[in-house]
């Protein structure tokens, strides 16, 4: 499986990553190599094998009672925000 520039640009767009021209070239090459290495998986006979999503089989997602456990700490959390105003996160205008 060989990738071209359009493939990389499409993937970058899906992944929300801005790439420079030289980055695109570098990723064409390295992702092609990675996919070639990953292609070895085809050697394995996996018919009748269930996909394994989790390393500890039989584990279930726990549920907890629906109680309030968190306190309002938005002022503390927003200390890390790039831009806030009146307790709100600011982003560029979305609706004209």
């Amino acid at each position: 499986m060989s990738l071209n520039r359009q493939d990389i640009e499409k993937i970058a767009q899906l992944a929300r990553l801005a790439l420079s021209e030289s980055e695109v070239s570098a990723y064409v090459e390295s992702l092609t190599r990675i996919l070639a290495m990953v292609g070895e998986l085809e050697r394995a006979d996996t018919s009748h094998i269930e996909p394994m999503a989790h390393p500890l089989p039989g584990q279930r997602q726990r549920l907890r009672t629906d109680e309030i456990t968190a306190t309002d700490q938005h002022a503390l959390y927003q200390q890390n925000a790039p831009q806030v105003q009146a307790g709100l996160y600011l982003v560029p205008r979305v609706i004209e």
Binding site: I8, I11, A12, Q13, L14, A15, R16, L17, A18, L19, E23, A26, Y27, S30, L31, R33, I34, L35, M37, V38, G39, E40, L41, E42, R43, A44, T46, I49, E50, P51, M52, A53, H54, P55, L56, Q59, Q61, R62, R64, Q73, L76, Y77, Q79, N80, A81, P82, Q83, Y89, V91, P92, R93, V94
Partner: protein
């Protein structure tokens, strides 16, 4: 009197409780070494003088009040992937270069409650993606055994700091070998517990079905003490396991006569003869203690690297979607619109390797490729896991090398990511199967440390630490100090 930095945690603990030394003295001694050596090694992203001394004072007060917990006043370092309240938590990334965590990771909080003093935050590969510590936004860490060589990764700062005696121990994380590989390359002890044993809450996520917190220490004895305080059920981590935590220290000296060791056939294929010999020397020590050795084969294990490089990037692309430049983390200058804000903040905030993995993951999860790559890899993961399960019907633990070579030179493998990925060929299997595994130093090659890896069934940490401790009672590789750091 032995210098404080030469003492193990067990020895420091005894001295602290006998009150022959104070926690403030111990913290000062390590902070001074960190200040002296960090310029050369770059093992720390943050050195926390103030926090360390105030925590040490608190520990001294607890000791003075008659408390006797074995970890009260013991200083350690935390990998900068663990959130530490009020302190910078960067994950080795420009994206989080100025992030101050509003809360503590469960691991940090538990160790703090046990009286552990935090000395600093260790350098690491960006978002734990790397095997050489060269992907850190804060620059590479150097190996204390040879500054021209890498310390391994991603927990390279933790391994280098412990090897150079800048901290008695350090927390670390392991997604594909990130504890064991740097431990091997720096000549220290590293344990990755069973998946789910240690809480992932507040440990910045890379690949959630593989990530596991653990330790880099100087000995299995020290690891047993710290793991006991770190491990255990945490309702804040949805995959945390509800099982009691055994007393890991209590079984360290159990005789290993009759222990069935499986020699991993696939791990020795292609291994350099001198490297293989170091591992066999280590196994001889265990045989002399009564262990029985037989060869075992895990035929699907050679597929662990390709399996991992589908599963881990897929999970990474999903986990790292949260970095959007809106709520925290890097934001680009003057975004034109929301899309521009997302793509440029992420494009600038993430380094080359992180972007490579996000894109690999995005690709294997994208429409039309999901079955061929992601589901296929999950099926092969099941085969690898079943191989281990079969082996553990015949043997108690499996043993082999931790890495294919000792520490390599900086820059030697940065040109081709696949060459770098193959470094994890012996460590990834345990992550895919969720198994506990540890690495202990077992000799040197051209003056560089070599690691012996021991892998066991789920929740066999007591056995792994027991075997490692018995080995370290008979050998002194773990006591060797890199030249210039004595």
């Amino acid at each position: 009197m032995t210098a404080l930095h030469e003492l193990t945690i067990t020895e420091l603990s005894r001295a602290l409780r006998a009150r022959t030394v104070s926690s403030v003295d111990v913290a000062r001694a390590f902070l001074a070494r960190m200040d002296e050596h960090n310029t050369g090694l770059n093992a720390f992203i943050s050195i926390l003088h103030e926090a360390a001394l105030s925590e040490a004072k608190r520990a001294d007060a607890r000791l003075h009040a008659g408390e006797s917990g074995p970890l009260i006043g013991i200083p350690i370092a935390h990998k900068d992937i663990f959130c530490t309240r009020g302190e910078k938590t960067t994950c080795g990334s420009r994206m989080l270069a100025n992030f101050v965590s509003p809360y503590d990771a469960t691991v940090v909080q538990r160790l703090r409650a046990a009286g552990v003093v935090m000395l600093g935050k260790t350098n690491m590969d960006e978002f734990a993606m790397g095997s050489s510590n060269e992907t850190s936004w804060f620059g590479p860490v150097r190996n204390p055994w040879d500054p021209a060589r890498v310390p391994g990764g991603s927990s390279g700062g933790s391994a280098a700091a412990v090897a150079a005696r800048l901290a008695p121990a350090a927390t670390a994380t392991d997604t594909g070998g990130s504890i064991r590989q740097p431990a091997a390359l720096c000549g220290v002890t590293g344990i990755k517990p069973t998946y789910g044993r240690v809480s992932r809450f507040g440990m910045i996520a890379f690949a959630s079905s593989l990530d596991q917190g653990g330790l880099i220490t100087r000995s299995a004895e020290d690891a047993a003490l710290l793991l006991g305080a770190m491990a255990g059920f945490d309702p804040q981590d949805s995959t945390s396991v509800e099982l009691p935590v055994p007393d890991y220290s209590a079984t360290l000296d159990t005789p290993i006569k009759g222990l069935r060791i499986g020699l991993l056939k696939e791990f020795f294929e292609g291994l350099e003869p001198e490297n293989a010999q170091r591992i066999r020397d280590g196994i001889e020590v265990l045989k002399a203690l009564g262990a029985v050795v037989r060869e075992v084969s895990l035929p699907n294990l050679p597929l662990s690297v390709p399996t991992y490089y589908v599963v881990a990037p897929a999970e990474c692309s999903s986990n790292l979607a949260r970095f959007d430049g809106v709520r925290y983390g890097h934001r680009c200058e003057s975004p034109r619109d929301l899309m521009d804000l997302y793509v440029r903040s992420r494009g600038e905030g993430f380094g080359a390797e992180v972007k490579r993995r996000i894109m690999t993951g995005t690709y294997v999860l994208s429409a039309g490729y999901y079955d061929a790559y992601y589901l296929k890899a999950q099926r092969v993961r099941a085969l690898i896991s079943a191989d281990f399960e079969r082996a553990f019907h015949e043997v108690d633990v499996v043993i082999g090398p931790t890495t294919p070579t000792p520490a390599f030179e900086l820059g030697a493998k940065t040109a081709d990511p696949v060459t770098m990925y193959l470094n994890d060929i012996y460590t990834i299997g345990a992550n895919l199967a969720g198994l506990p595994a540890l690495s202990v130093p077992c000799g040197t090659m051209q003056g560089l440390p070599v690691g012996l890896q021991i892998i066991g069934p789920h929740f066999s940490e007591p056995k792994l630490l027991n075997v490692a401790h018995r080995y370290q009672s008979e050998t002194d590789w773990h006591r060797r100090i890199p030249p210039g750091f004595g």
